[in-house]
Symmetry: C2
Subunit: 253 residues, 2 copies
Amino acid sequence: MSDPAKIVTACILVIGNEILSGRTRDSNIQYLATELGKLGVRVMEARVIPDVEATVVATLNEVRARFDYVFTTGGIGPTHDDITADCIAKAFGVGISEHPEAVERMTKHYGDPALFTPARRRMARVPHGGVLVDNPVSVAPGFQMENVFTFAGIPKVAEAMFQSMKHRLVGGVPVVSRTVRTNLPEGIIAEPLGALQKRYEDVDIGSYPAFRNGKPSVSLVLRGTDDARLATAAVELMETIRGMNGEAEEFVT
Amino acid sequence: MSDPAKIVTACILVIGNEILSGRTRDSNIQYLATELGKLGVRVMEARVIPDVEATVVATLNEVRARFDYVFTTGGIGPTHDDITADCIAKAFGVGISEHPEAVERMTKHYGDPALFTPARRRMARVPHGGVLVDNPVSVAPGFQMENVFTFAGIPKVAEAMFQSMKHRLVGGVPVVSRTVRTNLPEGIIAEPLGALQKRYEDVDIGSYPAFRNGKPSVSLVLRGTDDARLATAAVELMETIRGMNGEAEEFVT
């Protein structure tokens, strides 16, 4: 179900000191942004915040009011620094306790009751009103509170949780993109590129320089909801570049 | 110069649609967080925001008031989607024009005046009052406005810009860390780990599960400003784990 006229927005909240200290390089933002884009949900902001209750609660309440969807990653494991579930309960002003279905799944998974430790039982705690998000990797579930989805931080688990719940999302029109690569530097193509952007107001044109095989290269990315428009703009762009004696080819991902 | 009693904070602002669309995986947060940590500057938040003027201006004004330092990456190239410099001028309520020193450096760099195109001249524009940040890679400078430092988005350039200006920062006490790795799962060590955290309130203990060589492994990271305390806590932690028949070793990065 989607409303073609509506732009559906999302914010990603990465909760974890290990990203802010530089110990770990986040990959959940890129994964979720890519997957959400396919569903017509546009990530408009991503924030990395520390495992500090006041910060998590305040940030969560700010972004869940501003965006259609919020996705959190991190902080739902069994150790003392896993405070996300409690913070979400506090942000929503509800209690938190063991979810019977979560307990049942984890009891079955661990088998021996001695292995289902009190620490692991903490992972069965869900804010009241929360709906479980399946965890096909390591069982302990994530959960949904209204428009907020809470995932684990480990990429493999976060990705599996997203795949298991994505049918619940109501997206808008998916954004598609076309990429033209050229050997002309940005400083040479900037003017005709800006003119093209003015003629195609419904297309978002981005310019991303990089080094490829040791040589400078620029990726010109056209993004929008109407692929036919993107195709027309891409052809026009390649003709312009070739008219300036540059190389241009469409790069298909 | 540093004041050992003060906690110096920073926010990283990543400006760019290409990160929010999932096209590009950011690496500047990890690099800057690691380098700032060495200088005793703690990154307390990182945000990824789109190339939208109102968003950049509002976010910048919020975070420059809240944190000691702000570092922005992205949006200072020569193309139409490079709007960061103008947004910063607007946020500070000042004008923007060509900086004579920037023009001089770029004139020298490009040599042939035909190559110093109007688009490239845009990269010499600096908000009034801005102090240049050197760019040893591709010449076009970044700049500093009070506590806000503006870098390019390309990692190689952002990293060189940071190295060229880091002597301007006044940090606090550097945070150091020690890492203990174990084969015991989080759900088994969570209780003694939480007890250790309570005994070492001045040490920030984080627990990060991962897969190493196909086997589950947990990194227990002790962070703080007093390395002797970290060493004592690490020894205590390893003894606890070995007392539970687990493997424990300090991992030196």
